[in-house]
Point group: D2
Chain length 366, copies 4
C-alpha cells in the first residue's frame, strides 16, 4: 500500500530528494544471518555512480553508503536496515529558472499540480538520483540471494541505443563489463560511442532498451493472480524513472507469433525438466518455470537537454527553457544497475513469499 514502498515480505521504502540532505532506503523483512557490509553494498553503488565514464553525468556524488541499523557485527539481524547516502554535491546555485518553469518531459508540473509544492532543486523527489537508494536496496537483496540461492545470477545489459540494436549473434555475457554501455555485443560498441558523442555535442539525448536475464532462478516463484512474478517485475521496472515499456520473454513481439511457435515444448531427462525454447521468458501463469527469466524495459531519452523547448511557468506565461547542467546523454546506461537492483529485490521477495506460503516446491516430476 505504502506509496514509496514495494515488496511483500522483503519491503523496500526509498526516501529523499536530489538536493536534500540525504537519500536512502529503509529495508524491512530481510532474512537474518546474511553477511552485509558497507563495502559490499558500495560495489553495487559504484556501478551506478555518476561520472564513471564519459557518457554519464559529471555530477560528483561520492554515493557513499552508511548502514545505520539492522546489521550487527556484519550480519543482518532480521530488523529494518536503514541505508543512508549523503548528498554531497548540492551546489547552492540559483535554481530560480526551474523553480518557476515546468521542464517538459519532467515531473515538475505533475508534482506541482498534485501537491501544490515541490522541491524543484534538481528535480527533488522525482530525480533519478532516487535510484541510488534502489541500488543500495538491491545490493542487500543480491547479498541475501547469494546465500539463499547461490546459483542465481542477474545480468543487466543494453541491447539497443537509439535505433541501433545489438547483433544477437555477437551476444556474450562476458562482454558486458568491458564497455561503457554494459553492452553484450563488443562489435557494436565503437559505433555506439561515436553516435552518443555526436549526440551529446548537439545538446541532445537518446533512449535505450535494457534487458535483464536471471540465470539459476528456482521454479515456483510468483503467485496468482495479482502477485504474479511478471506483474511484480513489470511494476518494479516501470517505476524506474524514464521507463515507458516493460516486456517479458518475447514481449510486444509476441503479438506476431502463431500459437504453434510460441508455446515452449517441455522435456525431461530423468533428472531435470528442460524446454525447447523460451518464448515465455521463464514465466508461465505468473510463476517461474526454472528457465532463464528474461525481461526488458525501454528508457526514454533524458529530458534535460541543451536544446531549447517551449513550456509554461507557474503564472501561466509561455516561456522557453534550456536545461543547463550536467546530464547524461543516455540515462539508459545508468539504468542498467538500477534494473538489476529492482529485479533482485523482486526475486528475493518472491523467494520469501513462496517459502512462507508453501515451505518449498511441492510438485516433483518422475
Amino acid at each position: 500500500m505504502s506509496i514509496n514502498s514495494f515488496g511483500h515480505i522483503f519491503r523496500v521504502t526509498t526516501w529523499g530528494e536530489s538536493h536534500g540532505t540525504a537519500i536512502g532506503a529503509t529495508i524491512d523483512g530481510c532474512p537474518p544471518g546474511i553477511s552485509i557490509t558497507e563495502e559490499l553494498i558500495q560495489n553495487f553503488l559504484d556501478k551506478r555512480k555518476p561520472g564513471q565514464n564519459k557518457f554519464t553525468t559529471q555530477r560528483k556524488e561520492a554515493d557513499k553508503v552508511s548502514i545505520l541499523s539492522g546489521v550487527f557485527e556484519k550480519i543482518s539481524t532480521g530488523t529494518p536496515i536503514q541505508l543512508l547516502i549523503n548528498n554531497t554535491d548540492q551546489k547552492s546555485k540559483d535554481y530560480g529558472d526551474i523553480s518557476e518553469k515546468f521542464r517538459p518531459g519532467h515531473a515538475d508540473y505533475t508534482y506541482f499540480l498534485k501537491y501544490g509544492i515541490r522541491d524543484y532543486r534538481g528535480g527533488g523527489r522525482s530525480s533519478a538520483r532516487e535510484t541510488a537508494a534502489r541500488v543500495a536496496a538491491g545490493a542487500i537483496a543480491q547479498l541475501a540471494l547469494k546465500e539463499l540461492q547461490p546459483n542465481l545470477e542477474i545480468y543487466g545489459y543494453m541491447i539497443q541505443l537509439g535505433n541501433k540494436k545489438i547483433n544477437a549473434n555477437n551476444f556474450n555475457l562476458s562482454n558486458i563489463p568491458k564497455n561503457s554501455f554494459w553492452c553484450p555485443d563488443s562489435e557494436v560498441v565503437s559505433e555506439w560511442e561515436d553516435y552518443l558523442l555526436t549526440l551529446r555535442k548537439s545538446g541532445d539525448s537518446v533512449g535505450a532498451i535494457i534487458e535483464i536475464t536471471i540465470k539459476g532462478a528456482p521454479g515456483g516463484l510468483g503467485a496468482p493472480i495479482y502477485a504474479k512474478l511478471d506483474a511484480d517485475l513489470a511494476s518494479s521496472l516501470m517505476s524506474i524513472n524514464a521507463v515507458k515499456g516493460v516486456e517479458l520473454g518475447n514481449g510486444m513481439d509476441v503479438a506476431k507469433l502463431a500459437g504453434s511457435d510460441n508455446a515452449d515444448e517441455m522435456f525431461f531427462d530423468g533428472g531435470n525438466v528442460s524446454f525447447g525454447s523460451n518464448h515465455a521468458g521463464g514465466i508461465l501463469g505468473g510463476i517461474s518455470t526454472g528457465q532463464d527469466i528474461v525481461t526488458r524495459f525501454s528508457v526514454k531519452p533524458t529530458s534535460s537537454i541543451l536544446k531549447p523547448k517551449q513550456t509554461i511557468n507557474k503564472k501561466g506565461d509561455i516561456v522557453e527553457i534550456r536545461t543547463k547542467g550536467r546530464h547524461d546523454p543516455c540515462v539508459g546506461i545508468r539504468a542498467v544497475p538500477v534494473g538489476e537492483a529492482m529485479v533482485a529485490c523482486v526475486i528475493l521477495d518472491h523467494f520469501l513469499l513462496h517459502r512462507g506460503q508453501n515451505g518449498k516446491n511441492q510438485g516433483q516430476i518422475g
Copy 2:
C-alpha cells in the same frame, strides 16, 4: 500484499477456478452512494462473454452476475461487494489427458511445481475464465467513476493482429463497437477476418496488441515512487493472462527518440494547460498530466491449439499433446474488455488514494 488482490483503497480480490462451482470478485473500499445493479454490471460482462462472435470460443457461459453484498436498494453502502458468477458450462467430461500432461505455454507445470496440486479442469485458477471476475470488478469501478468523474471515458481496442497493424490515418474511436475485433480502423477489418478464419481452420492461433485510451482523466493521479500510476497500470495489465508486454505512451519505441523530440511542450490558454504532443502517454513522474492516458499491452497467441506439441507428464514421460476443445484463435479480442476493466480499477483506486492524501489537487496555474 494479498496475492490474489490488487488496489490500494479500492481493492479487488478475485477467486475461483474455471470449472469449479463459481468464480467471483470481492471488492473492498468502494465509495458509498454509487448506483449499482446486476443489469449495469451485466452490460460489461456481456462484452467479454464467450461466444459473442465467430472469433471467440463457443463455450457457452451465461456469465450471469449476482451481487451478494455491499449494495442496498441499488446503492453501494461502502462495505464489501461480493460478485458471484456461477460456472454453468462445466462439462463433466474426461479431463484425463490434461490431468497428467503439462500443456506447453500454459501454467500447468508451474502450478504443479509450486503447489503440488492443481485443479486441471479447464486450467483451474490459471484459466482466462478468471478475467470475467475482473470485468465484473471493473464494472463497479466504471460505475463509480461515472459519478465521481463524469467526463472520464475508457476506450480499449485492438491495434495489431498478428503482424497486421491498423493504419493510424483511419483511426476512429467510433469504429470500435462495429466489428468483431474492437478495431478502430474499419478498413482493416475484412483482412483481419480472413486472416483469422484461415488461422483457425489450420488449428492455430495468433497474438495481438491492445491499446487503451483514457480520456478525461484528471491530472494529479498517481504517486511516487512505487505507486506510480504507470507502475500500477503496468502490473495490472501484466497480470492479465497471456500478456507479455506493457507500454505507456511511446512505449518500447521511446528508445529510438531523441530528447528534443520526446519531451512534450506545454501551453496555457488562460484556463487550461495543454501539450504540444503526448509522447509521455499522459503520465510524467508517475502522475497524470491531464492529457489522454495511453497504454498498450501485447497478448500472446492462445496456447491451446489443435496442432500437436511435445511435452511431458507427471511421471516424466515425453508425450504429445493436442488441445481439443473450444478455444479462441486470438484471445486478444476478449482481452479488450479485460484491459478496460483493469484500467478502470486502477484509475478509481488512484482517484481515491489521491483524495485521501491530498484532498484535491493543490497546485494551480495562473
Copy 3:
C-alpha cells in the same frame, strides 16, 4: 490495508450483511495440500450457530457453508478459498422502526454518518452475524495448523459473566464443552444459569470476559515492531463485535505488579527451555516464547434489549426504542468460537510469515 481484510500472508476478507443474500469469507494465501471439506468447516460453525442452547438467540440459521473455490478433491490448492453461507432466516418483516431510528450502543448512527446509507436490516454489515464468516475462516486456519503444527491446540472459554468470575482453583479445560457457557469451572455453572435466566426475563443483557489459551505454539512467532504477535492478536480480537478490551498475560493487572514479580525466570533441562511463571502470556517483545499464549477479551452486553432506551431518528426527533426480536442475553457465549477463530488465523499467519522471512527458528540453546 484492505479495510475488510486481515492477515499478512494468510489473508482473510469477510463480506456480507446480516439480512442480505449471503455472507462469506475470501481466504488468500492458504498453504496447499491441506485436507479441507465442508463437513470439517461445519464442525466449527456449528459451535457458533445460533439456537445451540437456551442462552443464545433463537434465530434459525442453518449456517451451512459451501466451498466455492480453492479446494480440489478435498485438498487446498493454494489459490483463494471462497466460503459462502446463505442467509436463510431473513424474515421479510417490517424494519421500519430501526430503519429510521438509531439504536443506542449499535453502529446504526456511525454507519449512517460515515456512508450516508446503511443496510439497517438486522444491523447489516455491523451485525454479529458477520462473525460466522470469521469462524469459517478460522476453521481453515485450524485445519492448516493441524497439519503444520500438530501439537498446537486452541482453547477458548468464558471466565467471567457479569461480575461473576470463575474460581481459578476449579479451572479445568475438560469442563469447557460440558456446559452452555464454555466455562472451565463446572461449579459456577448453575449460578451462571440462574443469573442469566433472570436477566433475560427482565429483558436485559450482560457482558462477559473470554480467555483463550494456545498450547503448543512454537516459539519465534511474531515480528517487531508493528506486526508483534500480541499487537496482531489485539487488533484481531478488538475487531470482534462488542469487544472493548484485550489483554495478554497479566493484562491490565500488570500495572499492579512489581518488576521483581513480573519477569518470568527461565530454566533449561538440557533439552527444553522452561519458565518459572507466565506473567507475559507467552509473548516477549512481540514474539512467542514457546509457553502457552494466554489472551483475554471483554464483550459488552448485547445492546439489543427489551428495555426501552432514548435515542434519535434521522430527522433528529428524540424517540424511544425497544429492540424486539431474538437476541442473546450474553453475546459473550457465542464470542468464544469467534475468538478462537481469530486467534487461529493470527497464529497460522505468523507461522507462514516467520517461515517466509526466517525459514525456521535460527537460535538454539545449548
Copy 4:
C-alpha cells in the same frame, strides 16, 4: 504488511537499535502543505526524553531530531519524511554479561530464538528507545491534524501507578503537565512520588495504566471490519514496549455492565448530536461517534531491575542476572507521550482513509 510499519495511508516505519548509530522513522503518505520544522518535532520528543525528571532513566540522550527529506522550506511536500535521531550515549562498555544471558521479561530470548542473532547492546531493536522514533512520527501526525482538524486535542495521562489509582473526582486535564507523572489528579501526586522513590531505592519497579482522551475527533473515522478505529488503536498501543492490555471506553469492566446501562442514549438539539453517557469510549461498530475517544493501556513494570533473577545463557547454563545501569522505575511515565504519538498517527491515518473512500461524512441528521 511490512513488519516494522503501520498505517494505511499515513504509514510509519521505524528503524534502528538502542545502541546503533541512529534510530528514526520513515513517514510516507503525509499530506502536503503542512508546516513542519525540527523545532516543532523536538517539542514532542523532549516530552519523552530520558532524564526529564527524577523518575526517568538518567541515560543522557539529546534525542535531537533531523529532517532528512520530505520537507521543503518548512512545508511538507507529500513525499517521504525521514526523521533521524542519532544515538549519542552509546557507552562502549562491556556488554559481556547480557550478550550471553537472556534477561527475564525482556525480548532477549525470543529475538535469539527467532533470528539466531541479536544486537544485545541495550536491548537492540527491542529497546524502548525505539519509541523515540514513534514520538517523532507522532509529532508529524499532530502537526498535520492541527491543520486538518484544528479542534482536535489528544491528552495522555497516568491514572494508576502500581495499585494506586487516581480519584476520579479530582480529575482535571490542566493538572497533567504539572507533575512528574502526567497525572490529572494533583492530590495523589505526593503519595505516588513517595511510593516510587521507595521502590527505586529497593531496586524494583512497578507498572502503570495510561489513559488517552481525544477531544474534538470527528465522527465517521474508522472502517469495518478489520480496520476498525478501535482495532487499529488496539494494535498500535499493544505494539508499544511493555504494554499488556488495551481498553476502549469501559474496557474490561464492560463485562460487569447490564445492557440497559451500557448503551449510550442519543440526543439532538437541532444542530448537534449528543449522548447521555460514553461507555463506548466514542466508538461504535469501529467508527467514531464524535464523542471523546477514550482508550487505556497497561504498562508492565520495567524488567531491568537491580534485584537478581534466575535465567539461562546461550549454552543453557542456569545463571543469575542483575541488571545494572540506568533504568526507569516506572516506564509508564515515559509511555504517556508514546501513547499520544501512536493515537495521533492512527487518527490522522483514518482521517485520510475516510477522506479517500468517502470524501466526507455522507449522513446528516435533521
